[in-house]
Symmetry: C2
Subunit: 439 residues, 2 copies
């Protein structure tokens, strides 16, 4: 049986999970792959936690399990990448540093397959990596980079191939979904929910990457490349996070039989792709509204086969690791026939604001008579059909109420707000919050 | 570009959908596959409906689109299978006849890949087919045979490979789910719901295969082979259909915040597999309870990556066809590296009655005092913990009420019923209906 010797670079939460599965399922994995799958080397600055957590033999670590200096780490990584004893590299360090970028570059140069869960790297610097992999005939596995355990990468790359993907709407960040679920189901304020998420290990000490929507955006960029063959400058992706979502928004969502979810989405119309990340009010009749806590979910609508949902664990040590191991098996089986991407297109990426949605507009205004008439008239003047006017929470300081519309553009709404302000300058206290409604 | 010329045998609901997609997406499919995908020949007794439905060129049909005699059909099929101009056969005739079995045998003999949606054939006569394919090195595609458009076959075969499948619970028959949804959501009686399903094209004139649970069983057998490597004698699979489900059952389910669903399930405990098909009361907190109408869904629980749901269209012309075309692409890409099955095991299949479930037991008894005490005492005597006693619908003729239990075995329940009958011979009017509860 041909060998497939594996090295893991970075043995933190995910890397240690990969080591555990490779050790526990060694024989079974080799049977499945038709190649002898063997974990040969692990490189990590600090091996101790992985060793204690999953009982991984010290002998597998470069340096036999002791803490390494940075220089040693670099030296070992360089050795492992070019070692004749290693056939495949698992990169589970993460981040977009040059240091990690060079691991990709060097592995590609060594003509070895590389498997990663590093969504930030693939989204922000993936173009250069994929191009150089392509030129060198090097296969990459990145199932674990999007929605953890959900097999969405292989679904798009190998299963939805007899079809055309019309749209994708997904809950792709477990931290945000945990926070929003706590706010929706348990009446938490945003800050309180965030603290709970940090306490329970669902959010980092610095939660910016998650709550800003950037992490959800990273995953979307990878899916867009795969589904539509477009390379996106990550900085140009339109992203709104959840940091501005407050109790009023949640209450209005409940009133409208919706749950607020952070949605990464893409829609194809003719040859144009509209894509972005937005908090949305998801109707209770849509499956995505039922996806709570740290779970992820993706709705894919295909031209011929219609609507699909894939739901599963979006993060976690063994959950993400199992996706990495599935890539090891896929590459062990199909390295000779598989490609990193099949899509190639001249699709253009457009701002999602160009896409018509039904919107929920939450106004904070002075609490005086005549406001509802003024606002609804201005909205009507922009040819926007109003669906419902949400219950007005008013006191003497301000009125807060929501108007949900039939599908319209952001531009129409902006024009309506302009008209309101031109009629009564200070009536609107803050810029209204405009949240798309997802049916 | 290497060619991949395709013939479709049987151009009914599914076959005509395959033809449509192959014609509409010809260039795109060839790009994706890296081979020139071309539909070359179609054989069908009566071509007219496919031609008119999807505007498929007559020239593609053997006999140029006119009706064929049975002898002509056989002759054309035999010609196509061995033709040098055909590289891959799509079998969309269906059924378990020798005639169709021989199409498999002859295609394998001709060493050509064969793709099918024929769950009955694979479940009932698959062992011989897979063995002969294996011996001849012939690749088969059968994504479309289980849950239509849901990519469950590739998920199990290519995506959940870094993990161990602990259990699978699925709604695998759209007809049954449509009928049960109508009963649950619109108060229909079984017969009324069945008629509606027939009227709307969701059920055949003879609905036996669906409502008996056999079709759901066929799909389960295919998944069992794939996930656990076991060959099952279909006749030995324990199957209960939905034909005995009545309004009372539905009402008790509603009372318990459940929906009744026909569930195909498998659970692995140690090296034993428990599997069967049962109507179950699915708790509203379980996603499967929300899957309504003709939609299918599968919950897969993996050892490392936890719970997954895959939801999508379980049937339909283009929906099922898109799964077949995805197999064409997969085979065009990976024929040299893929296998029909990777699993091989000595797992033993056991009767699902051996598995402990919480159960809902619906009693129809005489309407006299003392019954509840008699029955609950007998149940307690068998060491079964009672969870709740459902509301008693009684009149002078009979009493109907339900008892839901904590997890126990069917044997325990049978013993309790025996005890009740031994104490008061005619108190139970019918054998009680025992329905597993799924959380």
């Amino acid at each position: 049986m041909e060998r497939m010797n594996i090295a893991i670079l970075g043995c933190g939460v995910v890397g240690s999970g990969v080591a555990k599965i490779l050790l526990e399922m060694k024989d079974e994995l080799s049977d499945r792959a038709g190649r002898k799958i063997e974990l040969k080397k692990i490189v990590d600055l600090r091996a101790a936690s992985a060793i204690s957590k999953y009982d991984i033999p010290k002998a597998l670590f470069c340096g036999e399990g002791r803490d390494l200096t940075k220089e040693e780490t670099v030296k070992y990584i360089n050795e492992v990448i070019v070692s004749d004893d290693i056939d495949l590299i698992v990169e589970t360090i993460g981040g977009t540093s040059d240091f990690v970028f060079n691991i990709f570059a060097d592995t590609i140069k060594a003509k070895k397959p590389i498997i990663t869960a590093n969504k930030a790297m693939l989204a922000e610097r993936g173009k250069a990596i994929f191009e150089s992999a392509e030129n060198s005939g090097v296969i990459m596995g990145y199932e674990a980079s999007v929605c953890g355990a959900i097999p969405i990468i292989k679904a798009v790359r190998e299963s939805f191939t007899g079809d055309k993907i019309v749209s994708m709407y997904g809950i792709m960040n477990g931290t945000c979904n945990y926070i929003l679920s706590k706010m929706q189901d348990e009446g938490f304020a945003f800050e309180q929910a965030l603290k709970q998420a940090q306490k329970n290990g669902y959010a980092e000490a610095d939660p910016t990457l998650d709550i800003s929507g950037y992490d959800a955006g990273h995953k979307l960029v990878i899916l867009l490349k795969l589904a539509y063959g477009i390379d996106i400058d990550f900085k140009k992706l339109s992203i709104i996070g959840i940091d501005k979502i407050n109790r009023d928004d949640i209450d209005f969502a409940n009133e409208m039989e919706c749950a607020i979810k952070l949605i990464s989405f893409a829609e194809k119309k003719d040859d144009r792709i509209y894509a972005g990340v937005r908090p949305m009010m998801v109707k209770r009749s849509n499956f995505l509204s039922e996806v709570d806590g740290a779970t992820n979910a993706v709705e894919v609508v295909n031209k011929y086969s219609g609507k699909h949902f894939l739901v599963g664990a979006g993060a976690g040590s063994l959950e993400t690791a199992s996706a990495i191991v599935s890539d090891i098996i896929f590459i062990a089986r199909h390295a000779k026939t598989m490609k990193n991407n099949y899509g190639n297109s001249n699709n253009e990426l457009l701002d999602p604001s160009e896409l018509n949605f039904p919107y929920n507009i939450i106004f904070e205004t002075e609490d005086v008579p005549g406001i509802t008439g003024l606002i609804t008239t201005a909205i009507g003047n922009q040819d926007i059909n109003i669906d419902t006017v949400g219950h007005n929470r008013h006191n003497k300081e301000k009125a807060v109420f929501a108007i949900s519309t039939m599908p319209c553009s952001i531009r129409q709404i902006e024009n309506a707000v302009k008209e309101i302000r031109s009629k009564r300058a200070n009536v609107i206290i803050h810029d209204p919050k405009v949240i798309p409604i997802l049916f």
